[in-house]
Symmetry: C2
Subunit: 338 residues, 2 copies
């Protein structure tokens, strides 16, 4: 089969690779129906995260189960399934606490930008939909695999409550779906920080009530103006830079909550500053698996349409182009069809 | 009157000072019945926190109301009262969220190591006991003013739950009362990190089930051994150094809670490390006022005896000696009687 490999900065190749096989009795092989390019794929693509050897790319996926290992009990061949980027047994101590992304047996699921994908720990990792979905629902279900689950977790980590005030830092797909999540959890004032017109529009469609275009201290000043000088109850940090993190912390009210899901790159937090900000800080790699049943249910019942973040669809063989347009921010998120 | 002034490192003087007076209509003057030396007083005493001019010392107090300003309504002359180190109106947006230590009108209450003390925002700051207490209860009530309230907040910030496993980093008065608080909140396994025999004894008396004498990575290793390799549900950080903070973060289980109340000195947190630890982090100057009614009630009904942390009582004029024995860790906490 042909699949996606990253050789180095700006060097994505769609090339002949061996087909994945069942390696352990707990594995499944799925036929990928849709995959996509993640904001985090851009870190190595841009050379910010170094790679030492060609890397199979893609960790967001949904598709049809083609084959299962001998020990797989919950998942059946022919089912339409969604999984997260971290495989999880869903039974260990950490999974029981709802943090499947740190499962004691966890394994990163890579190589989803391909026609076939091996998913380890299939019983714990994959969640089947009630039936094989119609084509129009595929983007929504694919979003649940990572960006929706991560935005949702940001809102949970930021303790979003009904009638609360929320700020979302970052207008990538995760930030935008953080807005959708906050809206779904009952927040009444949702301030999106974005200076990009198409993203602002989607932010409003997902539930943003205010847009702040300023960044850094100026951005924080605007947030304070919009919150009677107090700051927000909850702030979702969906970028991962020093500036965005400090913006998030300063945008929260005293004793407010910051949920951070942007993978930190060069972020250092000063203990004393954090202490006197009195914020609650929680984040990390999103335990998407925890939320998948609930999210699939919301999508299946057409309560949410997270697939709107995909503003470009390309056939898988044009994957290099998908990276390029996302790198140049010409698309929010590109869906790839094998 | 004679009161306590710090002139510089190791230079505590008990000297003639002007008596405090009502300056605002919301002030009260109290006759201090008992005061004490705080671990945080040792930062400037040791020269780690620089001071530029002589500083009136002491911020933990209880006593009898001597005089009230024209606008004071809730507090009456003759009442026995306890207050916290941060005066608070108890009505503003921040106070309503339970974070009186960041009250919009807050003012630090300094100069409590003296016979008389001016307390700003008396109605919001002071809480009266049901009656004037017997002498034997004074140490318990004094503890509520800071160290108990701060240890309690550490346990709240660390989300201590019934039947949970708790680690307490720091065996000063705050850490020891963090143990008492965790016990009161129903924790069943409470691991105290201490290498000081007298403090270990009190830790056990307050509810510690295990003692770990190792520090740093070795200490974390012991904690993991004691928690089936998982780490603790809740960790109370009651020191404020880089080592203690990292020890706390690493001692928590994935998705565990760290409540930090040790004022950070030179603490820097690496964003990426924090991200992959998945911990909940919350702390800051304790909003003691939030907890005072509940704590006074527990003390009044003899459910807890936090005053045991005072292992030395001195007359106020020997305050310099009090600093010295605490600096040398010859006493856990010194009670001062004017």
């Amino acid at each position: 089969m042909k699949a996606t490999m990253l050789y180095g900065p700006n060097d994505v190749r769609f090339e002949e690779c061996p087909e994945p096989k069942i390696m352990k009795a707990t594995d499944a092989i799925i036929e990928v129906v849709a995959a996509c390019v993640c904001g985090s794929d851009l870190w190595p693509y841009r050379g910010i995260q170094k790679i030492t050897e060609p890397m199979p790319m893609g960790h967001e996926y949904c598709g049809i189960v083609k084959e299962i290992g001998a020990d797989v009990k919950n998942i059946q061949v022919g089912q339409f399934v969604i999984g997260s980027f971290f495989a999880s047994d869903n039974t260990c101590f950490v999974c029981e606490h709802g943090y499947q992304s740190a499962c004691e047996q966890t394994e990163f699921v890579g190589g989803a930008q391909a026609p076939l994908l091996r998913v380890p720990l299939a019983d714990g990792t994959l969640v089947a939909t009630p039936a094989v979905p119609e084509a129009e629902m595929i983007p929504d279900l694919l979003a649940a695999s990572d960006v929706l689950g991560t935005g949702w977790y940001a809102a949970v980590a930021a303790n979003v409550q009904p009638n609360s005030t929320v700020v979302v830092v970052g207008d990538g797909a995760v930030g935008l779906l953080g807005i959708l999540s906050a809206k779904q959890m009952g927040a009444t004032k949702i301030i999106a920080m974005s200076r990009h017109e198409a993203r602002q529009k989607l932010a409003v469609e997902f539930g943003a009530t205010d847009i702040v275009t300023e960044r850094g201290d100026e951005g924080v000043k605007r947030i304070l103006e919009l919150t009677n000088g107090h700051g927000a109850d909850s702030v979702l940090e969906c970028v991962g830079t020093q500036e965005s993190m400090m913006q998030a912390i300063h945008a929260a009210r005293q004793s407010g909550y910051v949920g951070y899901v942007g993978v930190p790159h060069g972020v250092d937090l000063n203990g004393e500053e954090l202490f006197f900000e009195h914020v609650h800080l929680h984040g990390g790699p999103a335990p998407v698996r925890q939320f998948l049943p609930e999210l699939i249910d919301l999508i299946w019942n057409k309560k949410i349409q997270p697939g709107k973040v995909f503003d470009l669809t390309l056939p898988l063989e044009r994957v290099a182009e998908a990276y390029q347009v996302m790198d140049e921010r010409r698309a929010i998120k590109v869906l790839l069809q094998p």
